[in-house]
Symmetry: C2
Subunit: 648 residues, 2 copies
Amino acid sequence: MIKRETQVDQILKDIRGIVNQMVPREAKITEIEFEGPELVIYVKNPEAIMKDGELIKDLAKVLKKRISIRPDPDVLLPPEEAEKLIFEIVPKEAEITNIAFDPSVGEVLIEAKKPGLVIGKNGETLRLITQKVKWAPKVVRTPPLQSQTIYSIRQILQSESKDRRKFLRQVGRNIYRKPEYKSRWIRITGLGGFREVGRSALLVQTDESYVLVDFGVNVAALNDPYKAFPHFDAPEFQYVLKEGLLDAIIITHAHLDHSGMLPYLFRYNLFDGPIYTTPPTRDLMVLLQKDFIEIQQSNGQDPLYRPRDIKEVIKHTITLDYGEVRDISPDIRLTLHNAGHILGSAIVHLHIGNGLHNIAITGDFKFIPTRLLEPANAKFPRLETLVMESTYGGANDIQMPREEAEKRLIEVIHQTLKRGGKVLIPAMAVGRAQEVMMVLEDYARIGAIDAPIYLDGMIWEATAIHTAYPEYLSRRLREQIFKEGYNPFLSEIFHPVANSKERQDIIDSNEPAIIIASSGMLVGGPSVEYFKQLAPDPRNSIIFVSYQAEGTLGRQVQSGVREIPMVGEEGRTEVIKVNMEVHTIDGFSGHADRRELMNYVAKVRPRPERVITVHGEPQKCLDLATSIHRKFGLSTRAPNNLDTIRLR
Amino acid sequence: MIKRETQVDQILKDIRGIVNQMVPREAKITEIEFEGPELVIYVKNPEAIMKDGELIKDLAKVLKKRISIRPDPDVLLPPEEAEKLIFEIVPKEAEITNIAFDPSVGEVLIEAKKPGLVIGKNGETLRLITQKVKWAPKVVRTPPLQSQTIYSIRQILQSESKDRRKFLRQVGRNIYRKPEYKSRWIRITGLGGFREVGRSALLVQTDESYVLVDFGVNVAALNDPYKAFPHFDAPEFQYVLKEGLLDAIIITHAHLDHSGMLPYLFRYNLFDGPIYTTPPTRDLMVLLQKDFIEIQQSNGQDPLYRPRDIKEVIKHTITLDYGEVRDISPDIRLTLHNAGHILGSAIVHLHIGNGLHNIAITGDFKFIPTRLLEPANAKFPRLETLVMESTYGGANDIQMPREEAEKRLIEVIHQTLKRGGKVLIPAMAVGRAQEVMMVLEDYARIGAIDAPIYLDGMIWEATAIHTAYPEYLSRRLREQIFKEGYNPFLSEIFHPVANSKERQDIIDSNEPAIIIASSGMLVGGPSVEYFKQLAPDPRNSIIFVSYQAEGTLGRQVQSGVREIPMVGEEGRTEVIKVNMEVHTIDGFSGHADRRELMNYVAKVRPRPERVITVHGEPQKCLDLATSIHRKFGLSTRAPNNLDTIRLR
């Protein structure tokens, strides 16, 4: 679909000349190509380059590109032989659990329980591996929980490595094309998620490039595509899709209201370019997208897309860790920063037009430390426009302090269990579930909770993904896991619910139980099933620990509706009486509350010229914009969907 | 280029059924078709319909469309025979000067010095003509001055009548297509003329339709197309052009900064739809576009378009008089209202989505009576958003009162003539020139001026067009012309300058002279030639009577620059010393001054919800927006080019 790539051959020719001059002959360069946001130099003898510590840096400086050195595919040992050799070289005590080859980048992933032994003293073992097998080794700790998602993503990338390399080259040639225009203007258009929550989608436009940040679906409005999907009817978006001009899509985090429409673009062949996001977001969004298909099917709806469309998402995703700076078009440079909202969530920083303008788009973010994550990054190299979420942007949207929220949670649980009731905590499978798990685990460890905690829906699998990315977790959790050798996710108080029979047993049993189940807003998923059956018994409690969007069953229950007509199993409507206790404890939210939002604007550096409030009900966005303008004297706006704001 | 026309055949079939039921058989309907914004019913016997005075009204009410009854082409008398018959029927004293047939609409235009005699008592003569020749007669007074422009436009429409009818049908089928979308949103994008003067272009978008209001060129910035042309690089505009989705272009008035890029669209096949404007605007803009080609050629530039592209503009223009309401797309209804700026200038009123929203776009306007025109209309059936010009929007932009301005003008002229100097008044050929002519004529008539007034550039031809549309002139002028039988445009003090030799004679002569010459801002045209030669003599005066845009020679001279390097005839640069007296008398401006602008907002009915200020230097647009917000409590905005504002 990408149709640009103007004059890349000439540009590459010039670059090849420079590289061949700077790199010593004995490295034996075989190929120089753009692959994704990098210039890749294939050599028969990587050591010849590596031994000069400064050479790659010098190349990057001269060429103003990120450089990657890769072994020429011809020198790579065949995977079977390489695997055998690795097992020979690495001591048994390292406990290698998996070796996976990625031919598209010449990398071998080595999962081991003791990764330090694979690396060896001063990296000696690793160096030996490189010398013998030629593949570039990447060592990771074996995740304590097996994630099916991660496994299948790895499988796909491996089996599709040929396509993948082709794709990366196409992307590289697009990024490093000769710009047609001088960046004279920059503007953003709200395609969704402006003055609303759901279907986040923001189109960044310059006269040279087009980049989409997030592409979500409003799951609470699926009966009306006009409200559920981003504005496909915006003419600028139509143009960009039809002409194949979308340079990239960036995903801030995995939740469906930010990523849920991505596979739809592949289903209808509307996009063929790169998706940039963090590795955990890639895995989590794939999990949620798959779950979304299943939820739709179980609701008797036609799914919006098919599993194979999610596969395309995987094939088109280029992951970036926090802080990695990458060119994603001739005039846009991207960096992702921690957002503190859920695992892998990112604030998107765009450096446009070589200094013309810098935008930070917070996505959903949290500005105090949580059990799971560090607070959002508030320091950027440059910043003129800040686009920030406003979910809790109203003047009175002050959340309970963390400690108080935790105490209140334990209190409600205690009271409920004491009277023989069960506790239902609907939670998004990704984020709130793990946060609440960490709280409960902490109290359980000191004996303050004495009941099994059931995890239903995608929560267990999402947790497995959390254990695969410990470097994305809070400092405290990393310390527990790495230094104290204790992984709270593995606590034996947690019980995954395997199927609907087990679920029914839990509901029917007379034993006390704490149930954390997705979805978080009671729109599909097992939480709805639990709710239906637990709601009539006044001994039970439901505890809402996260934002309940307008139009959801969760919002209805939360706001006090006591009789709810629902379609039963045989398709006829039954009225559910809500006799259970209904609690809202908002101190666990992954969203910054009003105080944090204002505090973020106070703390963010450098001070932006302009703040644009999005992702909130209209009054919240407006209220926050007004307050920021009054307090900080910044220019603010709370635009509507389909408004376009020229930034430069 | 227009590609929609969905399900029109079915719609027409239904309509034909209704019409055939309501119209009496003896009318003998031969065809029913959409042509432009009308439903045209062709009949062999028009009288059978006309005799029932209510029938057409009833049809219009039932079908909710404008109805036009036309004689079937087969019954029309051949033009030669018809012409002969008309001369026989009409008494000689009527003094018919021209008879022109327009087969595309079955109309015969009869120009006569005494049109009343063509019409006859109670319309008897006219009725007789209709009966005999079958063509629908349209009677106009023979203009006292012959306009070459009007003549050639009429020629083109006549000779291209087949193409024209095809075009009108295509337009009609587009307008009355079955809408694909419900109008859910309305937005406007500034493609030019936002926070600037020049290249006015505003794109109105609904989810169903696209309409462009004005398409001008900034003649002062031709060396940089990025500043001179509207934003072709806006993706929504690209989309609309590439997909052939532009339903219509509406032109507020003839000046090049509002109409000058129209032929460019036809040169590059970017548009094939209808242009709506008033009849005088059509004629005046064609005149100015032709002049623009000539000016560019004489400056040694490649013209932006060719005469044949202007011909396409003529072929694609559908004229509307003030107050005529027309559907121009399935969800947009257009009405033009007097703007008081120049002959034929209009405020564009759009009624969108069957009551969803109403926009008035003032274009350039004047809100006090001038010698030439009535003040702008300030009364609309409905109004939510007012888009208004801000040329004189600054707090201090108060123009001299008219009477004072006139006195000052006469004073400067007197003093200059007394000391043996010449007076140069650079004026836009269309508008200011005629306004100043009317002032000078009035003073000359009472003997207060005693010098020849030379009219150079397109002024004489533009004046001829003024005399062809007396119904568009001020009440006072109409009274003079029709009741008092005196046409001030024909005063013998006016002398058109026929060629450069005559021009040089005027410059070289020792006689006193008042010269009104275009262009008005000294960007090309004879005014520059006069300026060059008259500037060094301190006895001479130059009087600026209109707005001088940034970047123009006029602005330079006005702001006091006394030495101006200019390219001379042999291509080398010479420095022009400005020793002549430089006067600015702003009381003749065709633009509302600050007081009028504020007064307009106070008076306009109904009161709009929102005012958007455009067409002014940035500070003027901002200042006016702020003042309107403070004084009237309305929501206001002063958007940039490329900003998009969602109105609903």
